[in-house]
Structure formats: C-alpha cells, structure tokens
C-alpha cells in the first residue's frame, strides 16, 4: 500500500459527512410528506437532526454483551463502507474515494455486512422481537433481491461490465442512454426490488414501527441507537445512489459543482420518492405475502429482462 493516497481518507470522511446531512434532510422531507398525506402537520424538517444529536448526547450504562455492542459498529461500518466504495459522482475522484476496491459485486455483498452485524447485535439483546424482526427481514430480503440480481445480471451483460464507473460512463451523453430507456425491463425489476429493501410499506413488517417495537433495534437506545440512526440516514442514500448509477445515468461531474449537486439531489430524491410513493399507497404485507409477491411479477419481469439481454447482447 505504498502508493496509497492518504487524501482518500479525508475524501471518504467528507463523503460520509455530506451524506449524513443529506440523509437527514431527506428524512425530514419525507417525514413531512408522510404527515401531509395523512393530513397531519408532521415534524419539522430539521427534526431528524435534533433526534440524532439528542441520541448521540445521551448515555447508557446498559449493555447486553459483546455482540450487542458490536452490532451497531458492524451496521455503521457496513453502511459507510458501501458509501465509500461507491463512485458517487462520475468523474469526481473526491466522491468515489475507494471505488478502486471493488465493483458492483463487492457492493452488493458488502451491503449484507451491516445487516448481519445488526442481526447479531439485536440477537444478543435476548429480546424475542429482535430475533423475530431479523427472521422476517432476512426472509423478505432473500426474495426481494431476486429481481435485483436479475437486473444486475441484465445490466452487467448489457454493458459488458461489472464496473459501476464504466456502467455510468456508458450512460453519459444523452438521457436516452440511460438504462431506464435502454433496458427498461431490468429497470422495472430493480425498482420493484428497491421497494423491498427500503423498509417502507408494504414491506415494513420487519420493523413494524407503528404498533409495537420490533426488529433488531428493539433493545437499542441512546448512543447505540444513535449509531444505528446515523446508518439509517446514509444507507438509503447509498442505495439510491447505486440505483441512480445503474439506471438513471448516474451523476456526472459538471463544471459547476452546484449544478452537479442539484442533479444529484434531484435524481436521488426522485428515486427515493418512488419507495415513499408506494409506501403511502399500499398497506403492509405479511412476510409470506411479500415473499409470494416477489416471486410473481417482479421475478417475471426480471426473467424477461434476462431473456432480453440474452437475446440482444
């Protein structure tokens, strides 16, 4: 690692910092949207900032054990890792700091590190609801990922690459070069899979936040929870960035950074909004429902996309 550019660490930290802020704002906006749709006032836009800071500021003397302790660490490492492995802005080395470490396969699998750590941490808490949430989440994600895997294969074949930067590069020039238009079926499949991983209705039985505390974080509070919340701010953003890169032409670096960020915000926001939109429109699925659902249309669409690229490329 002699030729390692240590500035990358700084860039990575910057990326994470900016993303956290962006994620918090996004959360606020979405919270507002949710409330307004339900004819409520809703939170202030900056409420997530407040929540996060408050959580970081509280202390706890409670630990359920080593793995409990490590759960949030794993979780946040996983989320942040994805972020810095991703080439966020095409052509900007600052925002693709560690993307040299691996391609989209790496990112797809690295995503599970946090999930696993969280699951284990929640597991050690000894709370049955934590384990219940994990079991539901795992069950659901296995099926939700099927169309995603299909879409990934589809576009990898389409672009003859697993390199995200190359995939983004191939979509430059015109919006007609976006995968959305060159391979709409794969995009459709992936966007359905996207729903399954965003922890929003109809696939939010994993956390089921409204009725009872359930899911891995059940036993977490104060700074443990703070770390998890931080991750919750960056993880969806990282995920949307990935989707933007895959299907919506990515975000290229314009001469003007402001314009670049604007495009970035717009694209990620819209992609994020897709899950919000669906979440607001549909009631919650039980896990077995969602499994069956994913095995129907999304999988079918995914299959078509695979056959499509198999014929076309």
């Amino acid at each position: 690692m002699a030729d390692f550019d240590y500035m990358k660490i700084v860039y990575a930290a910057l990326t994470i910092f900016l993303t956290i802020n962006y994620g918090l704002i996004l959360q606020g906006i979405i919270g507002k949207i949710y409330a307004r749709v339900g004819k409520r006032m809703g939170i202030r836009i900056f409420q997530p900032y407040v929540n996060l800071i408050r959580q970081w500021a509280t202390r706890t003397s409670i630990s359920h054990g080593v793995m409990y302790y490590l759960g949030p660490v794993f979780r946040f490492s996983g989320g942040a890792g994805i972020l810095i492995f991703l080439p966020i802005i095409y052509g900007a080395p600052i925002f693709s700091s560690f993307s040299f470490a691996g391609d989209l396969v790496l990112i797809s699998y690295f995503m599970f590190l946090g999930t696993l750590g969280m699951a284990l941490g929640g597991g050690e808490s000894g709370h049955p609801y934590a384990a219940l949430g994990v079991s539901r989440g795992l069950s659901q994600v296995t099926m939700a990922e099927i169309p995603m895997i299909m879409a990934v294969y589809s576009i990898a074949v389409q672009y003859h690459s697993l390199n995200i930067t190359e995939i983004v590069a191939a979509q430059q020039g015109s919006f007609l070069n976006w995968t959305l238009f060159t391979n709409p079926i794969a995009t459709a499949a992936a966007m359905l899979a996207f729903l399954g991983s965003m922890m929003r209705s109809p696939f939010d039985v994993v956390l089921a936040p409204q009725e009872i505390p359930i899911g891995p974080p059940t036993e977490y509070q104060s700074q443990f929870l703070a770390m998890l919340m931080t991750n919750r701010t960056i993880f969806p953003v990282a995920k949307t960035i990935l989707f933007v890169n895959f299907f919506f032409g990515g975000v290229a670096l314009y001469d003007n950074y402001l314009l670049t960020f604007l495009v970035f915000f717009l694209k990620t926001f819209l992609v994020y909004m897709w899950s919000v939109f669906v979440g607001l429109s549909f009631p919650r699925f039980r896990v077995d429902h969602s499994i069956r659902w994913f095995l129907k249309y999304p999988m079918l669409i995914g299959l078509i996309s695979i056959i499509f690229v198999n014929i076309r490329y």
Binding site: H127, A131, Y153, Q223
Partner: protein
C-alpha cells in the same frame, strides 16, 4: 510331490479307519480326521504352490494302470490345485469348528465329513463323465447326512427336500450320461470334447442337454432352488460353510468341465440362467431376515454370478477370464465360509439380533472383511476380478451385461450392508453368550487373513499394471492390529504417519492435484487433533479413519484408473465405517454406502468404457483425454460425472448426506464434510480436465450440470434454513456448497474453475471450523437442537468467535475469504452467459443468510437456558484446530491473491483464456475488479473507528441481567419461552414450503419399496413344499429345453 490320488486315498482310508475307532474317545477320532484333512491340505497346497510357481507341471493321473479312455483319469492342473486347496482348507477349518458338535453325533459325522471331502476332491479331479456323477452323488448323500446332524424337524425336512431334489437332478444327469455315451461311445470328458462337432451336438443334443441341466440344477439356479436354500438354513453353521465354500466351488468347477465338453453349445443358456440366478436371488434376499437363509440366498446368487461370468468369458473370449472367475470364486468361498462360521459363533437366527457380535471386536473385523469381499471392495481378490471383468466386457461392448452385473451387485450390497449396519448398531442382550472358543475362532481368523492376503497377491496377478501403493492400506492394517492401544497413542501415530507421508507428497505433487493434496493432508492432521480428547481406546476408529485418508491420498497419487478406483472404494469404505460410528447413523450410513457404491459402479463403467474406447491396452488415467473425441465421450462424461456427483451429493443423489454428516461423531463430521466431499470435486475436475466440454446430441453436459449445481445449492440452502438440528443444518449447507462447486466446474472456464477450486479450499476451512464448533457445543450441552441452546456466547466466547468468522466467510460477505468465490462466480456467469443459473446461485446465496443467522443466533445469542449456566468453553482439543483454521481464513481473507494467484496459474493450464489479471492486489477480470486487501483495510479502519467512538462514548456501560429487556412491561417467564428459535422462519416455510416436499426421498424410497415388494412377491415361490420344488425343477428343465432348443 505327493500323487493327487492320495487325496482320495487318505480321506477314504481315514473314513474307513474311523469305523474301527468307534469305541475310542472322540479326541482320537477328531485328531485322526484333522490329520487326514491336514494331509490333504498339504498335498493340495504343494501342488498349488508348485504349479503356480512353475516348478511343477500339471499332472495327469491314470487309474488302474491303463491309459484313458480305457480307464478313468484324473487331472491336476492349476485350477484344480487351487480349488482343492480351497476346498480342503475349508473342510479342515470346518472340522475344527465342529469340535463341540462331535460328542452328540459321534463318529458318523466325521465319517460323513471325510466322505464329503472325498466327493469334492473327486469332482474337481476327475475327467470322466460317469465318475463325475458318482462323486456328485457322494457329495449329495454326505451333505444330506450332514444337514441332519442335529436331527431336528427343520433339518429333517430340509434334508429330505435336498435329497429328493438331488435325486431328480442326478436322475436327469444319468439319463444324459447314457445318452451321451450312446452318441459318442465314450465317457471320457476329454475324448468327448475332442469329438465335439455340430453334428454330434445335434445328434447327442438331448443327452448333452440333460447332463448340462443336471449340473445346472446342482448349482441351484433361481427360481428352482428352494431345497438348496432350506439346506443352507437348516444345517449347522460349519456344514453350511463347507457347502458354501466346498460344494458350490466343486459343482461350479464341474459345470465348467461340462461346458467345455459340450463345446459351449449351452453357454447362452448358462449365461441367462446365471444372470437370472444372480439378480433373482439378490432381489429375493431383500426381504430376508433369517441370517443363514440370507447367506444361502447370497451364496446361490454368487454362484449364479460365477456361472454368468464364466459364460460371458467363454462367449466373448475374454483374455484372462480364468483369473476373473477365480478371483470371484475364491473371494466368495472364503467370505461365505467366514460368514457361516460367524453365524455359528453368534448363534442368532435373525440378522436383527447380530448386535451381540460387538462383544468381540475381532468378529466385527471378520464380518466387515467378509462383506467387503462379497461386495468386491478393495483390497479383496473379487475387487480386481470385477475390475477386469467390467473392463473386458466394455472392450467387447457388452454394456448390457455390465449393467446386469453391477445392478445385481448393488442389490446384494443393500442387504449385506443393512445387515452389517444392524450388527454394528443394534442393541443386544448382555447375558447372551457367543460360541467363542479356539475351535471357532481359528477358522474365522484364518479365512479373514486369507482374504486380505489374497487381495494383495491378486493385485499382482492382475493383467493390468497398477501402481497401488500398498503402504497406505498397510497403515490401516497396522492400526487395526494396534487397536488395543490407547486412543492418544494411536492418534499420535496416525498424525505422525500422515505428516511423514504427506509432507514429501505435498512438495512433490503439482498441478490441480496439489490443491486437493493439501486439503486432504493438512485437513487430516487438523481434524485428527480433536481425537486427543479421547481418554479410552476408541476401538475401531483409527482403522476406519486411516482407511479414509489412505483412500484420499491414494486417489491423489493414482495415475491409472485401477489404482484410482481402488483407493476411491477404500475411501468410501473407510468413511462408511466412520459414519456408522455415530449413535443413530445406521440408516444414513447405509444409504451413504449404497449411493457411493452406485456411484462407484458408474465410475467403473465410465472408466471401462474409456479403456475400451482407447483401444483396450492402457488403463492410465491419461487415456481419458484420448477418448474425448470419440463417439462415446458424452456417455463417459455422464457416467463419471454422475459417479462423482454421488460423492458431492448433488440434488437427486443427496439424500444420504444430511443424516450421514449429522449423525456422525463430533470430530468425524468435519472430516467427512470438510474434507471427504472434496474428493468428489476432485473427481469432477479430473473428468472435465480430461474430457472437456462434451455434449450428447444437442444437450450440453456442463449446461445440464450447471442447472443441477444451482438447484442443489438452492434447495439445500432452503432445507438448511428449515432445520432445527445444528449438524443437519451444516450438512445441508455442505450439499449447497458442493452445488456451487459443481456449478463452478460446469462453467468450463477459467473463472468458473477458479471459483470452484477456491471454494473447495475455503469451504474446507470454514466447514471444518463450523462442524467442530458445533461439536464443541454439542459436547457441552448434549443436544443438537438449536432451540434448546441459546445465549451461549457468554459461556463459550471463543467458539462464538470461530462461528462468527466462519459464517461471514461462508456467506460470502466481504471482507472475508468467501467473497472471492462469489465475485468469481458473477464474473464467470456473465462471461459464459448462463444468467439464469447465475440468478439461482445468487438467490441461494441469499437464502444461506437465513441458516447462517439461525445457526449463530439460536446457539449463541438470545436467551441462555438455566441448565446451561455452568457450561464450559469447548475443550482445548476442539478449539485448537479451529484456531489454526481461523488463522488460515484470516490470512486468505487478507491476501486473497495468495491462493487465487497460484490456483489461477494451475487453472490456466486448462483454460488459459479469461484469466484474471493481477494489478497489485487488485484482481481484474474482463468485467470487473476487486481488491481484497483494500476492502479489508477499509473495513478494519471503519470498524476500528466506529468501535473506538462507541467505546469511548459508552465506556461506562455494563452488562445487565439476562431478563432486563423491554418486554411489554412484563417480565419474561422463562428463557425457553423467550428464546425465539424454534421454527424460526415460519413465514418462509409458509410461502415456500413446497420446496420441502421430499421429491428425491420419495423417489428413492419408492424404488426401495418397489424392490422390496417384488422380493416379497417373488419369494413366495419358496413354498417349503418339497413336492412343489420337484415340480419346479421339472418345469425348469422343460422350459430350458424349449428355450435352448428353440432354434432347432
């Protein structure tokens, strides 16, 4: 050299002399008999030795000073000498065994025994047709007398049936003889042979036919042999042994003489009768539970096999056919004698009561040896004979007969292995006694030792050059002999032996073999370490484990197909014994053995086919390459691939694995799962390296295999997620991982193979760790059900850490080593374009998370049970190998290039295109790139930073009580009800339960049920009524006549 006529003189003289010694004590009588038999053994041994060594010529003996055909002549050649030695030795040993029977039944028994032996010797020696008849009558009368030694009602009934059936058969024979005499004017077999012509065959047809069918009936062909089976069952064991080893041998030899005499006109008939008998008896035997009746079935079926093989050898002019027949015959005779003797020592009627054999370990060894010899497993003569038979048949293109022979052998394996399993596992009444004494023990030991020794010699007699390294089996024998030592000593010895042998091997071996050699040798040493926990002797473990590892090393070293197959079977056998040691592993070990044998037979067929395709001269493994262009190459590929897939437990052939691996002992599971399965991968790789990308018609074989691979992975992962039993979970996981390996190989590309090979290595590491961890846990908590565990992280933190690292590695999550396989698979799939398979593989990878989480959560996290509050960390000797392997996993994770690069170089030999390009630590493929070291560092940095942050902020946190959780304002009642572990993925099961439908199990059990109902139905022909048996014989004669005479 003593004249062979003295064989008859001595025995008869002794028999007559016994008449004078009626009033002396039994000791003298028995001493006289034994002395006479010893003299006969000596004479035959002398001749056998002399003729085989070439110091003695075969001799013709003329009686009455006249030349044949005026007088009766005898002939002592190589076959005769060997058979006489066999028969006389069996007689000597059986007489020794009889000792106790003697008092009750007095001197008559010994007279009959000697007369019996005279008859056997005469049948083998004589060259005169009528004289043959006389000797057959002697044998039949003497054996009918010996059957009734105890004279109970069963013996009398059986003896009477035996004698009337024999009388009928000899009546036919006698008519045949006189008709033959009418047609030829001679009774001398050699003269008739010389006269044989189509004209004579036609004119004397009926005579020749009746002689033939008479001999055939004496051989007890299916289905007209109820009388013979009854005799086997009713006789006292030493007599049955003598009948099985002696009469069957002699009668078979008489059959060969008659066949020669008739100029082979009945070879077709005998071929079909033999085949029918072989298969029919084995089918019928499936339902049998009476030990000696079962042995009777088996004996008759083996004689059927001999008749079939002999006919095939003659019809197709197979070179070296004599050795084939001899190998089978000698193995059968010795093995069957040993089994009958054993049945006497055991003294139990039903095969389900043989558990008592465990009172004496030596008896188990003898039992195993005998069963192995019957099933033609290495190192017995039958193994080499069968190999030569199958290869020769392949050269002649007789694949139908190969199928018949191997299919029948598989049926035989079903009941023999089931019996063996019962004996080793079933409970027994401690108060029952064995008939264990000097006189019974010596025959058993002698027979066992002879089988082992003959195996060694027959390898050298084999027409094929082979490079079997006898050092490896010798280790097994040594450990068997040292079995009285404490386990610790044997463990040290074995580890030392493996290290001593393996170290130079690892240095010398190159290419893809080196990878597997490393897994096998290093794996052997590591997985043997837990053996130090054993304080006792651990009887039987070390021979079995050394046999398995000897087999594994042997297949790596093998350069020819025979050697490969030898060690392949040895490995199977060793692992079978190992698996059988588990507490409830009986049915699983059986199905393991049967699937393995079935697979081995496919391999044998595949090897034989390629041997034949390559010209039938060389059995080097390299000739597989030369047949890759031939028209049969597709079939060869399928045979070999499916054969090896039984070992990797691919979908459809997997049903043995979960039980076998789960029920095995704690330190055996890692061996069979982490190491043994790689033998299948090795074989698959070997197959595809040699044969390449084959198709049958338009069906591409690797394409089909790729689907099998991913479906295996998918269903097995699903099944793993649904298990409550930790070891079954891991077992299913192994199936799935082998599915990936199969998929990788089937991609037939650089990256695909690289993924398969790297998977083989990393799977070895983490699966050994996981099985050992679970073994440690099970050792402490005494259950394998995960929902009964929970919260053990506090009690067994080291084990927890091992499991944690392993499951991350297994799941393929970066930064640990398992990711390399995933990344390579994605690249390889896209390169190949088999996207759908890739999707299935990917999904099954996701499903793997389910069981991995379940494994670690249900055992280590959640609620600690009250009964486990004082559980200790796993013992040192279980932890040590895990620690060693964890270091290896971490090393491979940090520096994936360290193993991917050399493997890549190896793979490039076969698939140079599409290799990875290494750019520093970054692996670059056509599509993507991956820098394992960077990922690792990023992860470590992030992890350390986060951890430091959290630790700094939360430094005051303390561990709180178990039940101090947010529980809807209530206190949870008990850990048992709070631990969420039972049926953990209930919704999943609800949605996807159809995947659990045991389609494969249903299929195979359907096959088994069908065979058993056929058996149950067929065996009703054995009504027990002597008159019916007579009628059956006549029907048999008439039908045979019509069929064989059909062309006329």
């Amino acid at each position: 050299m003593v004249e062979p006529i003295y064989l008859i003189v001595i025995a008869l003289g002794a028999a007559f002399l016994l008449g004078l010694l009626r009033k002396t004590g039994s000791a003298l009588q028995i001493a006289l008999t034994l002395a006479a038999l010893a003299g006969m053994v000596f004479i035959s041994a002398q001749w056998a030795y002399g003729i085989i060594k070439g110091t003695t010529q075969a001799a013709e003996i003329f009686t009455s000073g006249m030349n044949p055909p005026l007088s009766i002549n005898l002939f002592m050649g190589r076959s005769e000498a060997v058979l006489l030695l066999l028969v006389n030795s069996a007689a000597f040993l059986s007489t020794m065994y009889l000792g106790r029977e003697h008092k009750k039944t007095s001197v008559y028994m010994l007279m009959l025994l000697l007369v019996f032996v005279v008859g056997l010797n005469g049948i083998i020696l004589t060259r005169d047709l009528f004289n043959l008849f006389v000797f057959i009558e002697i044998v039949s009368i003497a054996s009918a007398g010996l059957i009734a030694l105890r004279s109970d009602i069963r013996q009398l009934g059986a003896g009477f049936k035996f004698i009337i059936a024999g009388a009928l058969a000899s009546g036919f024979m006698l008519i045949g003889i006189i008709f033959t005499y009418y047609a030829t004017g001679s009774l001398n077999i050699d003269v008739i042979t010389g006269m044989m012509s189509p004209a004579l065959a036609s004119a004397g047809y009926i005579g020749l036919f009746l002689v033939f069918i008479g001999i055939m009936i004496e051989l007890k062909p299916f289905p007209v042999n109820g009388w013979g089976i009854d005799a086997y069952q009713a006789s006292i064991p030493p007599v049955s042994a003598l009948v099985a080893a002696g009469t069957a041998t002699a009668m078979f030899y008489a059959f060969t003489k008659i066949t020669a005499m008739t100029g082979g006109i009945f070879l077709n008939a005998s071929m079909y009768i033999g085949a029918l008998t072989f298969v029919g008896m084995n089918v019928v035997a499936l339902k049998q539970t009476a030990a000696r009746r079962l042995l009777g079935y088996s004996s008759i079926s083996q004689v059927g096999l001999l008749v079939l093989v002999f006919s095939l050898v003659k019809i197709f002019g197979i070179a070296g056919g004599e050795l084939i027949v001899f190998g089978l015959l000698v193995s059968h005779a010795l093995a069957k004698a040993v089994l009958f003797w054993l049945s006497g020592i055991i003294g139990k009627e039903s095969i389900n009561d043989w558990g008592i054999i465990r009172k004496r370990n030596i008896l188990i060894v003898a039992f195993a040896v005998a069963v192995g010899a019957l099933l033609a497993l290495p190192p017995f003569p039958s193994f080499f004979a069968k190999w030569e038979l199958i290869t020769s048949l392949a050269v002649k293109g007789q694949y139908g007969w190969i199928a018949v022979i191997l299919g029948g052998a598989l049926l035989e394996a079903v009941y023999l292995m089931r019996w063996f399993g019962n004996a080793v596992k079933d409970s027994f009444n401690e108060e029952d006694n064995l008939d264990f004494r000097f006189g019974t023990l010596v025959p058993v030991i002698t027979g066992t030792a002879a089988l082992l020794a003959l195996g060694y010699f027959s390898a050298n007699l084999s027409v094929f050059e082979n490079n079997i390294n006898w050092l490896l089996p010798a280790v097994v024998i040594v450990l068997l002999l040292l079995d009285f030592l404490p386990a610790i000593v044997k463990n040290i010895l074995l580890i030392a032996a493996i290290a001593w042998y393996g170290y130079p091997l690892l240095q010398a071996i190159e290419g893809y073999r080196s990878i597997f050699a490393a897994i096998f040798v290093i794996g052997a040493v590591i997985t043997l370490l837990p053996g130090f926990m054993n304080k006792g002797r651990r009887p039987g473990f070390y021979p079995a484990v050394s046999m398995m590892f000897a087999g594994l090393v042997g297949i790596i070293e093998a350069t020819d197909m025979l050697t490969f197959f030898f060690f392949w079977e040895l490995m199977t056998l060793g692992s079978y014994f190992l698996i059988l040691r588990g507490k409830k592993s009986k049915p699983h070990a059986l199905s393991y053995m049967l699937f393995s044998l079935g697979g081995a037979y496919l391999l044998m067929t595949g090897f034989s086919m390629s041997f034949a395709e390559a010209g039938g001269t060389s059995i080097a493994l390299d000739i597989l390459k030369t047949v890759s262009g031939s028209s049969l190459s597709g079939i060869i590929t399928i045979l070999l691939a499916v054969g090896f897939m039984t070992k990797t437990a691919s979908a459809g052939l997997h049903i043995w694995l979960p039980g076998a691996h789960a029920e095995a002992e704690g330190d055996v599971s890692p061996m069979v799962s982490g190491i043994l399965l790689k033998a299948g991968v090795f074989g698959l790789l070997m197959t595809f390296i040699a044969l390449g990308d084959q198709s049958i018609g338009k069906i591409n074989i690797p394409y089909v295999l790729s689907w099998i691979g991913v479906i295996t992975a998918l269903t097995a992962n699903y099944m793993a997620a649904m298990q409550e039993d930790a070891k079954r979970l891991l077992a299913y996981s192994s199936i799935a991982q082998m599915g990936y390996a199969l998929f990788g190989i089937s991609l037939m590309s650089h990256l695909g193979w690289l993924s398969a090979l790297s998977l083989a290595i990393v799977h070895f590491t983490y699966k050994v760790i996981l099985f050992l961890s679970v073994a440690g846990v099970v050792h402490r908590v005494k259950t394998r059900n995960m929902y009964q565990m929970g919260g053990l992280i506090t009690r067994m933190p080291v084990t927890f850490f091992m499991v944690l690292v392993s499951i991350i590695a297994l799941s393929g999550i970066p930064p640990l080593a398992g990711f390399s396989g995933r990344w390579l698979t994605y690249n390889a799939v896209i390169e190949k374009g088999w996207l759908l398979q890739g999707v299935v593989a990917g999904v099954s990878g996701l499903i793997a998370f389910l069981y991995l989480f379940r494994l670690i959560f249900a055992i280590f996290l959640g609620q600690l049970k009250d009964v486990h509050r004082r559980v200790k960390e796993a013992p040192f000797w279980i932890l040590l190998p895990q620690i060693l392997l964890i270091l290896l996993v971490l090393y491979l994770s940090f520096f994936p290039g360290a193993f991917l690069r050399p493997i890549g170089d190896i793979v490039s030999e076969f698939h140079p295109e599409g290799a990875l390009v290494w750019n520093g630590a970054t692996a670059v493929s056509e599509f993507g790139y991956w820098n394992g070291e960077a990922v690792m560092w990023v992860f470590i940095a992030l992890f350390a930073a986060n951890f430091a942050l959290l630790f700094f902020l939360n430094r005051g946190a303390q561990k709180i009580k178990q039940f101090n959780i947010v529980y809807a304002a209530e206190r949870p009642a008990r850990p048992e009800t709070t631990h969420f572990a039972y049926n953990m993925f209930a919704p999943y099961r609800k949605a996807l339960g159809f995947l659990e439908y045991p389609i494969t199990t249903k299929f195979w059990s359907g096959v088994a049920d069908l065979m058993h109902s056929i058996a149950g139905f067929t065996r009703r022909i054995y009504t027990g009524n002597g008159q019916t048996y007579l009628l059956q014989i006549i029907v048999f004669v008439v039908i045979s006549f019509l069929l064989s005479n059909g062309g006329k």
